[in-house]
Symmetry: C2
Subunit: 134 residues, 2 copies
């Protein structure tokens, strides 16, 4: 869909980790990014699940970026939290068009939306956190 607040937070969280070389615990991340602790944890879990962030349990636990900053794009982070960026719902993977009857009409728009969605994804993918940090 669009870039939600959650995705926006996710970007700030990764940015925060990218700047702060070394491990950070959730509380510090929450304080630095101004996102509530609970919500930070939720977002962090998604980032861990998609392999952008690594987590460590226990007393000296915390989070850190899982790979070089050149290999983490804005698109990666957004996709980890909200799924693929698409301009319209009819571009989504499991979308079933309720108007399949008038195929000569609906698909025309779908094609355009799809094309633009890819354009946006590519553009977001070109932005790497290595560029953002310096």
């Amino acid at each position: 869909m669009q870039i939600t607040l959650e995705a926006d937070y996710a970007i700030r969280i990764v940015y925060c980790l990218a700047q702060n070389a070394g491990r950070m615990d959730a509380k510090s991340i929450s304080e630095e990014t101004q996102v509530t602790l609970r919500f930070s944890l939720k977002i962090l879990r998604k980032l861990v699940a998609s392999g952008i962030v690594k987590s460590y349990k226990g007393t000296l636990g915390g989070y850190e970026v899982a790979r070089p900053l050149e290999e983490i794009s804005m698109n990666d982070v957004i996709e980890a939290v909200s799924g693929p960026v698409v301009i319209s719902r009819c571009v989504k993977k499991d979308f079933v068009c309720p108007r399949q009857a008038d195929s000569q009409c609906s698909c025309k728009f779908q094609k355009i939306f799809d094309e633009i969605s890819v354009l946006v994804q590519d553009r977001l993918d070109a932005v790497r956190f290595s560029d953002l940090v310096k």
Copy 2:
């Protein structure tokens, strides 16, 4: 934000009017586009307000496209219904960033979102209904 169902309907309604040379009443539009009458009326009002569609009252009343199809873009229609297409809320006109303190951080992202939003708008503006109809 994103292209909502309402905007999607609006596109279909304009497309419907574009194909059907001549005046059409709301009921016919509703039937042809599969959008409920009430909702069609709501959308049509927005299209009239923004000068894309002209309306005529009375017994022989109805709606018709207000200008040549070459001069109506997909972006025009979407904007008429949902406002300017933006990728993130922080690109919106009257948005006040709650993080203005750390300006060296937030504005970096805002700039990128803004740039991509314009890209999408331009792309949508390049699609004219004259191209779609034929």
